[in-house]
Amino acid sequence: MYLYDQYDQAMVDARVEEFRDQARRRLEGKLSEDQFKPLRLMNGLYLQLHAYMLRVAIPYGTLNGRQMRALADIAETYDRGYGHFTTRQNIQYNWIKLEDAADILADLAEVEMHAIQTSGNCIRNISSDHFAGAAADELVDPRPYAELLRQWSSFHPEFSYLPRKFKIAVIASETDRAAMKLHDIGIRIVSNSEGEPGAAFYVGGGMGRTPMIAPCIREFVPLDRLVTYAEACLRVYNRYGRRDNKYKARIKILVHELGAEEYTRQVEEEFAHLLEQGVEPPIAELDRIRTYFADPDFEDGPKSVDRSDPDFALWVERNTVRHKHDAYVSAVISLKPVGGIPGDASAEQMRLMADLAERYSFDELRVMHTQNIVLPHVRIADLHALWSALDEAGLGAPNLDTIEDIIACPGLDYCSLANARSIPVAQRISERFAAKGRTAELGELKLKISGCINACGHHHAGHIGILGVDRKGVENYQLLLGGSEAQDTALAKITGPGFDEDGIVDAVETAAEVYLREREDGERFLDTYRRIGMTPFKEALYG
């Protein structure tokens, strides 16, 4: 994985000291909250329902054991013993004191981490495929390109005050595991007819109150023009994005209002202009970055495991994914125990995951946008030992991509923007289906819950989505069906009137019953929905 050079470290260290001074001045009353707020947000420090919340960047979700252990230490020393892994492959701490914030950033800097650009109207943490570098189906490892873009976008003076926040995802396989088309810019590394690598650009996607799927504005940008093209996309947005209305300020609105064709024309014009300016980093820099992502020393070994233990067999079946080396798999550690809080991990669990990464996965972990953790390179020969350790620690839930593997935002239990609680709904749904033993029968069923229209829980992209709303001061939940954030990206549609907390759990079960009744051989929930449409579900839900 990427290691800081002297410039990276110096920048992060300088930012820590700058923030230490800003926090001191705020505590001494020399800065008002209005003056301090934009400064703390530039360092990922929010003020949430119960306390300050710190969001720490995990670039493209990749971290090592030492870093995970540092996250555990922060949880224990400065917070309340746990952290929350987010849908942006980051981690958040919910109980931070302002007087500790600079010390936390200093601790992060010691392990080459920070919280810079995890808030504000700038380019946020760049996300990627959580199986990058391990996936059997990828063209190349997308992370060197994500890292190049991270370096380009960090402290970029022109893009520090965009009309609104800006999110980029980079993948390199046809299978989309990063919700690429639901980003401001989605980049897919592809090859052209001559076999040369390049990048397809999808621009203007997003969720939130106006969900949109990004159109492809260019199918092939040569890799030695990647940054220049991204810069052209940003420049047009920065120039014409709606700064007059926060709710219309995302790039998706600009692309929609201009039309993809006109937006693309302007980007191409800007691209041609920028090519003359020579803004692209030298290809040697990309080559330098690539060396950090070289394959570890894979060894040949057994290609199958003894599945006589049914619990182990189920976990292998459900939570391991094919690797590009046939003696390895990628193993998913579920942070979704039945009735648990999606994405939460205690300091002890983080330390265990760090230990296991060092022992079994070449010291690498990945945070999934679905709020689980991946050990990307596990020898098949080590799988039973790994599972045994996870199972003993309560981290062995065999539920990847099932109805128990729910994405849920923090919701009204933690978030000042939320209108309704998300976590209790997720807990009750996973408990309901686990108790009835129906999880396996339902197969792949992606359920996503947001506690407000901002859609941090990706409800638009759920096979089943749930949106919490405030109805005259009472929590109410809308049910949506038919979304997908994979390569067949689709936006879910609302079924009809909302439900109360009890009613939404029943409604999900009703939708699942319709699927089981109507499905044909091999169909997932989403396939059945697409074949039969909304009507049978509405009839079952509303009579």
Partner: protein, 98 residues
Amino acid sequence: MKILTGNDLKTGAVVWWTGVDWSIHVDDAVDAGGEADTVAAREEAARRVNVPYAIEAERIDGKVRPAHIKDRVRALGPTVRPDLTLKPADPDARDWVI
């Protein structure tokens, strides 16, 4: 009644105006009435509290209950982590929020 709330500047903890100071217990809150804006401005200027604002609430049997669920969650703590709330031993605390 109208009560004042905000977050402690140093710790970020949710606090309520008692008439003379700030408390982490909502039951200590007093009716700020028409003084709410004045008190909020004065206290924020004195750096005792962060972004104070007034909310509607009612006092029932000596206990203060904010009108909106968001403020009740703030008053108690996360309903999904009773161990981290101000009333970890109270089995009815979650129902009070909802």
